[in-house]
Amino acid sequence: MAKEIIKVGMAAFSTAVEPASLVTIGLGSCVGVCLWDSAKKIGGLVHIMLPDSTQARNVTNKAKYADTGIVLLVEEMTKKGAVASRLTAKIAGGAQMFNFPGSNSVIRIGERNIEAVRMCLKRLNIRILAEEVGGSYGRTIEFFTVDGLLYIKTINQGEKTV
């Protein structure tokens, strides 16, 4: 049976039910947050770009920020029948692609993204089962709703499933 693969672009999100999988291509300093309800086999992926919506002038796209993006994803998954208290998380990305000499905090956005994602998940009581974050390389990820596994592919750092 051909399984549906749902592509999630930058600053976007999607939910999926078994047997579909969610894919996001080329995560750099962005973080892919994957949530899963193991009983209902419902998965969700949000491709967040920035750590904090409270710094923004106007937030029209909630999926862009860690704080609002994860809350939005939980809401959408709940609408599909997932139970919030059952959700677990796997996260990937948050690299630093470019290394400027004497780089400042604005450029070290990857780390800030990871930190913001962790904080938000903690606040929502969602346990992180796996992290594949940091470094200085891009990642393409596929998240399977069937078993909650996360497949990570890189150019020079191999591939793995967590």
Binding site: M10, A11, I25, G28, C30, L50, A95, M97, G138, I155
Partner: protein
């Protein structure tokens, strides 16, 4: 200007024109550096939501070499030069006087030479802009990455992401005829810079 999505057609055309002037200067410099004729395609100026930006550059998982620099001063913006790795090696082979196909590894020398190409391209581009707008541009040294296009673009677009849900991409393609090498140069002006540019062009 609140969001890039508010830019109209006339303004886009004006931006294309200015990018054409900048890139023309850049192509001349590259041509002198390599001793080859470098042509340019018609510039593209477009506004795309972040979620579509991967498709826009021909697939987010394509492996490319990217040279990125920040411009501070009166006109904050980012500049990114992207080229497929094989083609980047070809450019470097020309530069080093090697038989094309010799280079296949990113040694320190290759990285340094690649950054120099980016430096020359962006420097000459910005010089043309400076003459046009009477502003001071202070570019940083370039940083480089060889990785998935999406990952490179994602990081470059962060600054834009803080302000907008759309990316304004001014793109110029450089073409070396013999081998059809194509490299893309992106100018990513911050909103303040965009306003200054549009004012200088008389379309704001």
């Amino acid at each position: 200007m609140k969001d890039y999505s508010e830019i109209n057609e006339l303004q886009l055309d004006a931006l294309k024109e200015i990018s054409n002037i900048g890139a023309g200067n850049a192509a001349t410099s590259l041509s002198q550096m390599l001793g080859r004729t470098i042509n340019m395609s018609v510039p593209r100026a477009s506004i795309a939501p972040f979620s579509e930006i991967g498709d826009y550059v021909g697939g987010a998982d394509k492996v490319t070499a990217g040279g990125y620099l920040r411009v501070d001063g009166d006109m904050p913006m980012g500049m990114l030069f992207m080229i497929e790795t094989e083609q980047a090696f070809y450019l470097l082979d020309i530069l080093f006087g090697n038989v094309p196909g010799t280079s296949n590894d990113w040694t320190e020398m290759h990285c340094s030479a690649f950054k120099e190409i980016v430096n020359i391209l962006s420097g000459s581009y910005l010089n043309a802009l400076a003459v046009f707008t009477n502003n001071v541009y202070s570019p940083s040294v370039p940083a480089m990455a060889v990785d998935m296009t999406g990952a490179i673009l994602g990081e470059v677009l962060q600054t834009v992401g803080e302000i907008s849900d759309y990316a304004l991409v001014l793109e110029n393609v450089f073409i070396e005829k013999e081998k059809e090498i194509t490299g893309q140069l992106f100018l990513l002006p911050e909103p303040k810079t965009l306003e200054s540019l549009l004012k200088a062009l008389g379309v704001l």
